[in-house]
Point group: C2
Chain length 414, copies 2
């Protein structure tokens, strides 16, 4: 008898009808296989925003402790409604809030981290044969204060519960039916990827962001919890995300990700002295601005250029800080470019296959797409290009690596 953790997001829990016709159905499918089921739910779509807006109409800077006290009620309502539905259908169920489920967190209100889970109450209800429904996104501190885990935290709740309960699988139900080789709105030929490694999923963040919170993938990787991303509405198999194995490696490239939410900042003619880069990036870290790619050119006549990318939301702040540092260190000027995009080719297989980078550059060049910055890791190659070429770049790379074909065919090709 397997133990399955299922997580349903806000869209799935969006109405009484959806809860009854889809969510309950997915739960009972597992139940009928003889499995024990623990369900983690988000608030009904729109509810968390409604609560945040109520709070923000008082002040833009609310007391975070009280903020969590208010916002955590959204999941309590949806969990209760689901339990009422299942009980009404004749299936014993019980709804537990974060504190009732024993989810202990630190005190970082609005972005708390799970410290441990006391699973005794959950196990007791499972032994009684009940479907256990747990509010996602929240927990309780040692002092008995309600905390929330931050946006998308319900995925993390589900994975943490799956790890603590040693669940056989954690199914993340959402409104898309898996992770694709590229965004299907851009590449109609994009295919659902049947199996992915955690590392690939993390690199495919921009494809997966809508379906899976990155933090929850890191958590799943750490505790080796197999994750399945699947659709609440179709019930298809979706995409399984797990530890890599030999069969996975046979596919060189798994998918093409893209991200238009970054901006590039370039410091021109920086005196090439030790400690200059450190000064700049320390200042950005101090201001809590995460930096993605960093490129420094070869020094010419004792001067160099430093380029880096940050999230567009942070670009204004980053530009200001960079200008201050640039003045201090005697750089010539600071240029900010918001009209860039990052296109990434991701796959475990490229570790052992030469020529992937060459193929990327060659393909982009063939279509006249200039590469502004390059960054590589063992399992991905990312290129910063002019924003206007984003969709074209994704399409031509998707085709160049044969991602429109079945994985089995692609393996034969190489």
């Amino acid at each position: 008898m397997a133990l399955i953790v299922q997580k349903f997001g806000g869209t799935s829990m969006g109405s009484i009808e959806r809860i009854r016709d889809f969510v309950a159905k997915r739960i009972l499918e597992e139940k009928e296989k003889g499995n024990r089921v623990v369900v983690v739910v988000s608030a009904m779509a729109g509810e968390t925003d409604r609560l945040i807006n109520l709070v923000k109409s008082i002040t833009q800077e609310p007391n975070e402790r009280d903020m969590d006290f208010v916002v955590s009620t959204g999941e309590q309502v949806s969990a209760g409604l689901l339990s009422i539905t299942l009980n009404h259908m004749g299936y014993p169920a019980v709804a537990l809030s974060g504190w009732q489920a024993g989810i202990k967190t630190d005190k970082a209100f609005t972005k708390a981290r799970i410290l441990e889970i006391d699973t005794s109450r959950i196990l007791k209800h499972l032994e009684e044969g009940k479907i256990v429904i747990i509010t996602g996104f929240q927990g309780i501190t040692e002092e008995g204060e309600i905390t929330t885990l931050g946006r998308g935290g319900s995925d993390t709740s589900a994975v943490a519960l799956a790890a603590a309960l040693k669940a056989d699988r954690c199914d993340i139900y959402t409104d898309v039916d898996g992770v694709y080789t590229a965004d299907p709105r851009i590449v109609p030929e994009a295919r659902r990827i049947p199996v992915l490694s955690y590392e690939e999923m993390l690199e495919l963040a921009s494809l997966g962001a809508k379906v899976l919170q990155i933090r929850s993938v890191e958590f799943a990787m750490k505790y080796k919890v197999p994750l399945r991303v699947r659709s609440t509405f179709t019930g298809d198999e979706g995409t399984l995300i797990k530890e890599e194995d030999e069969t996975m490696e046979r596919v060189v490239v798994r998918g093409i990700a893209h991200n238009k939410n970054e901006a590039r900042i370039t410091v021109v003619k920086v005196p090439d002295k030790p400690g200059i880069a450190a000064k700049l990036f320390d200042a950005l870290a101090e201001a809590n601005i995460p930096v993605d790619m960093i490129v420094q050119n070869v020094s010419v006549d004792g001067f160099t250029d430093i380029s880096f990318t940050v999230d567009k939301n942070d670009a204004g702040k980053a530009e200001k800080i960079t200008k201050e540092i640039a003045k201090e260190i005697g750089a010539k000027e600071v240029i900010r470019d918001d009209r860039i995009a990052k296109v990434s080719v991701v796959g475990l297989g490229m570790r052992s296959h030469a020529g992937v980078a060459g193929k990327v550059f060659e393909t982009l060049a063939k279509y006249g797409i200039n590469i502004i910055m390059i960054s590589t890791s063992e399992i991905k190659i990312s290129c910063i290009i002019d924003e206007k070429f984003t969709e074209l770049a994704v399409r031509v790379l998707h085709e160049a690596f044969g991602l429109d074909k079945e994985e089995s065919e692609r393996v034969k090709q190489l």
Copy 2:
């Protein structure tokens, strides 16, 4: 330094603006007097109904445990919003849910009773100088399940907290400014009653029902908690409800209550044998139908008539049961009359003043109002009359007992 418990209802908590402009103001008025303040809040007006409707759209007979799990969130939101408002205004405050506030109840979901309150967490926050805001209407069982106290339960929460904390006073803030000598919509000359005994308040239920839950008055009486009913919006002194003292007794009649929500059922020609009445009223009690007034006529030729009143909502069920019993005991017939009203004259002083009953009957007779049933206690006289005379009866009794005059004047008159 006094300790004051304040309770604000759903209308007072109805919007962010009301919370800021009125509720916070009332709290800070007490705070500025140097008092310690514990605040009990209801859900925002309409919110509990919204949650109940969500649940009822799943099933008319929801699992009560889950029902409470869902419905209790309304107060958590309003308590959090008030705390955020006060903190934003610069006054340290903290919101506590029923379980955080240590409110232990029995397991009677949807109508739980408070068993005890562990005040340690409340006292800790008060010592830190904080305004402590507590969700009304709810508590927690020994097993860690969330319960609610039933409609209007926030008044009970407030009084129970005042008793447990040995508060100097419990102020029930609402949208009316006190208890009146009669319903001011019927008697424009009605006056606010400055001081009432608990017993009088209980008898004046129909005047007080809109402002105060009866269960909370019983609770206050039991634990001798002085209650003040006052308006959130005007901040006036309102009506103080406390133990009777000598000054109170000098006023003979305190107010005129009326109730149109009862129906009368009469069993005609009942064989006058021992145990017949018991049989009938046991059956009604069995069906959980509370009976208000009971009148049995003097027996004529071995037969008698029994009349009683019940809430109109229970009248159909009561009629059916009575008809079955009537058949069994060989009574002639059962008559139901929904078009009746109960008018009551209430006052501690009538215990020691003869002639109040006479004045009631004389006044009603003078205006041609026939009395159908009479019931008296030490501090009230209730008459069942034809519903169409209700307003007239209230007005002429109000005038007859001089309730349109100041209490001090009335004392002189007698």
